[in-house]
């Protein structure tokens, strides 16, 4: 564990957010857009959990806890709330994509556009 630089979780979170933004901007398939938003949510959640880490810390639970300093527990609560909210958002988006597919027969965001101008 000592050989991994301390910045590694933040670099991973930045990579996830970067890939997700690339997918959201450049891909045309609606289901890929939803996957991009799920990846963006994962990147932000990883960032939130990683910022609470303290070197050498243990999990912030008092039941049968070993010795040592604890990592911060508030970002873990924020992450849980964010996960719950993103479940609802993703379910709603999937339902809308199913309806769009039924009405227009295509999942391409260029072909299923009805409103212009």
């Amino acid at each position: 564990m000592e050989h991994i630089p301390l910045n590694f979780p933040f670099l991973a979170a930045a990579l996830l957010v970067g890939i997700a933004l690339y997918i959201i901007i450049f891909k045309k398939n609606l289901v890929k857009l939803i996957m991009g938003i799920a990846l963006l949510a994962s990147g932000v959640n990883l960032f939130l959990v990683a910022l609470g880490y303290r070197a050498g810390g243990i999990a912030p639970i008092y039941t049968d806890a070993p010795e040592g300093p604890m990592v911060m527990s508030v970002p873990q609560a924020l992450t849980l709330t964010s996960i719950v909210i993103n479940v609802a958002v993703l379910a709603l988006m999937l339902t809308m994509v199913i309806h769009i597919y039924r009405h227009t027969g295509s999942l391409d965001s260029e072909k299923s556009r009805k409103m212009k101008g």
Binding site: L78, M93, M96, T104
Partner: protein, 522 residues
């Protein structure tokens, strides 16, 4: 009664929430009971909001700490910073709360007839009450993460309501665009909250405002927050989703969505003035807001001139009017550091912008409701197909005329009062802002007159023989808003002294907000 006022901030948020979940079993039993529950709970909330507004004007900022032993105990014994979720209601918050309560009551009354032919109406009212909860939470909270939760509640219910009529294809597309934009904006807000928490270990706005230093990470957080909130209010160049979503929703929901975008604008002001108030580089951020506000005003009205769909036409005008508010408060932000200019024209510019929020919240939902009334019996939103409807729909015509004169800034209606306040104060800052505002006003009047001729004037068309006046509850919903317009028209200086100037002063005075949280004694 005094206990009711002490607990009123959380009651205003919790009563629509409880009513939303009570609607489901009661709606399975009886339709009339469910309608009575919805209207009754929203009326009680209007009463509570006005009682709280009177209390704040007498006693100052109203705090409420959730879960403590008494509502004022913000810092528990042995701690140095606030650790609980604190609701902090000052002049600006209760101003937005008054607007939201009146518009949601009007929208719920309008919906009683407008969606009476849909299936699944119980779920509609549940989602509407959840959206009301989300809106009030956004306006009253004093905690950054609590704000994120409530903005998500409002966005998810709003998107579900936009795509409620699943038999049309464009409603699904509009709802999808709304939820995608909201999800991306909320994740950006969460990222910024993470950045701020990592440095200062605080989530409370008042305590954070005291501890903040303007490091590079803070600047990144400010940029992320402002871009995310501008995305949600439809500022140019992030406005392309706005007309698509607002034109296909049921008309009552569009009225409520307009106020939700006002609430996001309120949050941007809260962040610029209260959270970063002491350390922000005020001229730079102010000028950026002013330039994008000007672009928004201009692009909104030029795109609106050639629209054929009546609701899309009104959504572009909503984009343009939101630009007025950004310019007004942006001028106030640009002179925030300079006390002499602030007292000369800065405070007046901010008052003009905030007054325009009130007026826009009265006439814009009214115009959307008349658009929905046009759609209700004719079945179409296309202006080229409508004609001669003034013969049958007399009430709708009169209310549409009131809305048009208001939005174009014709004296003596309320739109004129706020626009003249903005024009006179920003002229002293830079003349080009006033000139652009006047040109945009003229174009607004032109396009609304064209739409009026197209839809209402002319001979009666044969295919609209069975069109009659819309049902009573829709008229009552529109009359509630028109009564608000008439009140502000007749007593503008009363409204400015009692509601607008306290709100502007609450934004400028960062110290009172911080002292309420950190200096409170149990």
């Amino acid at each position: 009664m005094a206990a009711l006022i002490t607990h009123s901030p959380i009651l205003i948020i919790a009563i629509p929430l409880a009513a939303a979940f009570l609607t489901i079993p009661i709606g399975m039993a009886s339709r009339k009971a469910r309608n009575a529950l919805v209207i009754g709970s929203l009326t009680f909330v209007v009463f509570l909001v006005f009682a709280l507004a009177r209390d704040i004007s007498i006693n100052g900022i109203h705090l409420y700490t959730l879960g403590a032993t008494s509502p004022d105990l913000t810092i528990p014994t042995g701690f140095m910073v606030p650790v609980r979720i604190i609701l902090e209601v000052d002049g600006m918050s209760i101003f937005m709360g008054i607007i939201w309560s009146i518009v949601s009551l009007a929208a719920a009354t309008y919906s009683l007839s407008h969606i009476s032919s849909e299936t699944g109406q119980t779920r509609f009212y549940t989602l509407l009450l959840l959206m009301v909860t989300g809106g009030f939470g956004m306006m009253f909270t004093g905690d950054l993460f609590n704000f994120f939760v409530f903005i998500e509640i409002a966005s998810i219910s709003g998107a579900a309501l936009i795509s409620f009529r699943t038999r049309f294809a464009d409603t699904q597309e509009g709802g999808f665009k709304y939820i995608v934009v909201s999800a991306i904006a909320s994740l950006m807000i969460l990222f910024a909250i993470g950045l701020l928490y990592a440095q200062y270990n605080l989530l409370n706005i008042g305590a954070l405002a005291q501890a903040i230093q303007y490091t590079t990470l803070d600047k990144i957080a400010l940029a992320l927050l402002l871009i995310a909130l501008a995305m949600k209010t439809g500022m140019v160049p992030l406005h392309l989703w706005f007309p698509d979503s607002y034109s296909v929703a049921p008309a009552s929901i569009t009225g409520m969505l307009v106020i939700t975008s006002h609430a996001c604008m309120y949050a941007a002001f809260r962040i610029c003035f209260t959270l970063y108030g002491g350390v922000i580089n005020a001229p730079v951020v102010g000028w950026i807001i002013i330039i994008f506000g000007l672009l928004t005003m201009f692009v909104g009205v030029t795109m609106a001139v050639f629209q054929k769909d009546v609701m899309r036409f009104m959504s572009y005008h909503a984009v343009s009017q939101l630009g007025y508010m950004w310019v007004g408060v942006g001028v106030g932000l640009a002179v925030l550091g300079n006390t002499e200019l602030l007292s000369t024209y800065g405070r007046d510019a901010m008052s003009g912008g905030i007054f325009h929020i009130l007026n826009h919240a009265m006439y814009k939902p009214l115009l959307f409701f008349t658009g929905g009334a046009l759609f209700h019996y004719t079945g179409t939103r296309d202006l080229t197909k409508m004609g001669g409807l003034a013969h049958k729909m007399k009430w709708t015509t009169i209310l549409y005329i009131i809305g048009t004169l208001s939005i174009s800034g014709i004296p003596p209606l309320n739109g004129f009062s706020s626009k003249i306040l903005i024009y006179e104060s920003v002229y002293q800052f830079h003349p080009i802002l006033t000139i652009t505002g006047i040109i945009v006003s003229i174009l607004t009047l032109a396009s609304f007159t064209k739409a009026f001729h197209s839809a209402f004037m002319g001979a009666e068309l044969p295919e609209y023989k069975e069109v009659k006046e819309v049902p009573k509850s829709m008229i009552i919903g529109m009359v509630i808003l028109a009564a608000g317009i008439v009140f502000v028209t007749l007593f503008p200086s009363l409204v400015v002294d009692w509601a607008i100037h306290p709100a502007a002063d609450a934004l400028i005075d960062q110290g009172a907000y911080i002292n309420a949280v950190t200096g409170a004694i149990p």
